[in-house]
């Protein structure tokens, strides 16, 4: 450059500006206005946050206030006599004993109706017998699960002042309940079955354990597939991939897969895993595969971010002392990036854990009353369970739904807490 800038730039010929009159009235007014705007803006920001937080609080409050009752159930006390003959009357062996008839009879005898206890109340008797075979022939007082109507009344959900037509329970039931109350043979207890059973058509017997196991199996499949492949993909893209067509296609694929609506993955699972490969419906295997494909890009992206956040200077340093590429990655890059990768993985997986839509399409909305024992067995998962229950008309399912949501949120929150913990613990400032 031939330096044209100089002489004309120097001060001499420049017009002088009159100094700004900072203390003039106009200027002072202007400044006051600016400060007012400042305060307003700041308020809006805070308001937005408070609103968002308020909504969260409201949501949690609603769910907890409904849901905590899902962890309770009404029980009625029945005097049961374990009469061997009756138990074995039909099947001929204790193993296939018929507790149901036994209980029905006792109920009828003691309360005049079977309707105070749940359809599945007899299960309690079987448990007792299994715990203590010596009970055979004895009589004992057993707290069995109450019927939905009794449950409602026990939890105070029934407005007795309403006329019978507009109540969920008829007068007869109300009477029965009053009797129970008077004889102290009804109580509210912790609903242990909720955490140990699978789905059921009757709300008082429905539990989340089956769905939880389903979720865990599904997530294990997801993790087993998406984590290694995701990390390897990320490592390949960040550290190895040459800039070429194929790499570009991979990059575009991943970025887009990350934002493809989850339901599309459901369609994919349906078309490929179920229809093309003929894998079993409703199985954690297929659900896990589908979710793995969905989670893969999340992990890849998180892992790439983590890998990118490893300062290149460290790689240079390692290369500079003569480390090979694989050594650079395994000795320096991965250890440093691992917390980030794990965090991303947990977040991806916890999203998969809350995912519903794609699983609906691959048949996991099926009613499954057994606790799954393998990845190929029919199963449902927590969110789907929630969805299913939320559709149920029975009054008892509302609190069950909320309770299931609480379980799901607890799982998710603890996973997120783990992620945050990891992130904070290993967060590094360069």
């Amino acid at each position: 450059m031939t330096d044209p800038s100089s002489p004309s730039d120097t001060g001499e010929t420049l017009p002088e500006r009159t100094p700004t009159e900072w203390h003039s009235n106009a200027m002072q007014r202007r400044i006051r206005r600016r400060y007012a705007r400042e305060r307003r803006f700041r308020f809006f920001g805070l308001a937005a946050l408070v609103l968002a937080a308020g909504f969260l609080a409201f949501l949690l409050f609603t769910i907890v206030s409904d849901g905590w009752r899902g962890f309770q159930r009404a029980e009625v006390a029945v005097e049961v006599t374990y009469v061997e003959d009756e138990l074995t009357a039909e099947s001929g062996s204790l193993a296939r004993a018929d507790y149901r008839t036994l209980l029905r009879r006792d109920l009828r005898e003691q309360f005049g109706t079977e309707r105070v206890a749940s359809e599945g109340a007899w299960l309690r008797l079987r448990e007792r017998m299994e715990e203590n075979p010596g009970l055979l022939g004895q009589t004992e007082r057993v707290w069995v699960v109450a019927s939905p109507e009794v449950d409602l009344m026990a939890k105070g959900d029934v407005d007795f002042t309403l006329p019978a037509e507009r109540r969920v329970v008829d007068d007869e039931m109300v009477e029965d309940y009053r009797d129970l109350r008077e004889s102290d043979r009804v109580r509210l207890a912790f609903n242990s079955g909720f955490l140990s059973r699978a789905d059921s058509t009757s709300s008082e017997l429905a539990g989340v354990w089956g769905a939880l196991i389903g979720s865990i199996l599904t997530i294990l499949v997801t993790l087993a597939i998406s984590f290694p492949i995701g990390v390897m993909t990320a490592v390949y893209l960040e550290e190895y991939a040459p800039k070429n067509r194929i790499t570009d296609i991979i990059e575009v694929s991943i970025n887009n897969l990350a934002a493809v609506p989850s339901i599309i993955f459901g369609l994919l699972g349906l078309a490929v895993f179920l229809n093309f490969f003929g894998m079993p419906r409703s199985a954690p295997l297929v659900g896990g595969l589908t979710l793995a494909l969905m989670t893969l890009p999340v992990i890849v992206i998180a892992a790439r971010v983590a890998l990118q956040s490893v300062p290149p200077s460290i790689k240079d340093a390692a290369l500079g002392v003569g480390a090979s590429r694989l050594q650079v990655i395994s000795h320096h890059v991965l250890p440093v990036a691992l917390p980030g990768i794990l965090t991303g993985t947990i977040i991806g997986v916890s999203r998969a854990l809350g995912e519903t839509a794609p699983l609906l399409l691959i048949g996991m909305r099926a009613f499954v009353s057994d606790i799954p024992e393998g990845v190929t067995q029919p199963a449902t998962v927590l969110p789907v369970q929630i969805f299913l229950w939320s559709d149920e008309v029975g009054r008892g399912f509302i609190e069950k739904t909320s309770a299931a949501i609480m379980v799901l949120l607890a799982v998710l929150l603890s996973m997120n807490a783990l992620a945050i913990y990891l992130r904070n613990k290993f967060e590094r400032r360069w």
């Binding site: 800038s5 004309s8 100094p19 400044i31």
Partner: protein, 269 residues
Amino acid sequence: MAEYDTETVVHEEMTLRNDAKMTARDVSVFYGQKQAVRSVSIDVDSHYVTAFIGPSGCGKSTFLRCFNRMNDTIDIARVEGDIDLDGRDIYDPKMDVVQLRARVGMVFQKPNPFPKSIYENIAYGPRIHGLAESKTDMDRIVETSLQRAGLWNEVKDRLDESGTALSGGQQQRLCIARAIAVDPEVILMDEPCSALDPIATAKVEELIDELQGRYAIVIVTHNMQQAARVSQRTAFFHLGHLVEYGPTDEIFTNPKADRTRDYITGRFG
């Protein structure tokens, strides 16, 4: 490390007056419990470039940022003592920070043009302060500022291009022009050339040289030669203390304090 006494050496012609452009009296700055600046008193004159030198972490930047209260943006920073601008205490609660910062401009270590056009970069300050009545007014301000910053000829044909598209040295001069545009009285510069290569540095130094006299300029630098080149007054800081303050020529050829001598001749640490 040798033992030094901690008394400040102020050269005769530098004895403190209260009619200087900016005066700092017994200024201390704390970050939480930690004291970063220890009771420093100094005058900044309108007609001179004042350089702050000293080893890393001695509190130069911290002290500099007191002059336009940029330390306010750091939660844990606390400033004690008086700093006056034209005799008015700038830490007075009634003092308006927004105005103060318009009067005491700042140029940072790394050039930080706004990602807007060159024109908008310059017009930003005048606009928020309402200094231009009209478009032509604004055009004039932009032109003069760029001219003073010695950048006009280089950019006059591309005022619409983004400020970030300029080279490092040009960006730094743009930042100076931007500071000039709000018609400040003092310009603070915190290591304005440390991100630049020698050629860009030379150009910025040239600019500082030309601005000298029109603005009170305070510059923090790690480069002793740079301090020697561009400034007329030099203050040497050490461990938060002001060790010596005097005319640059004196400081660099015949410093009075042992610490200063050891630092500028490279005998430190």
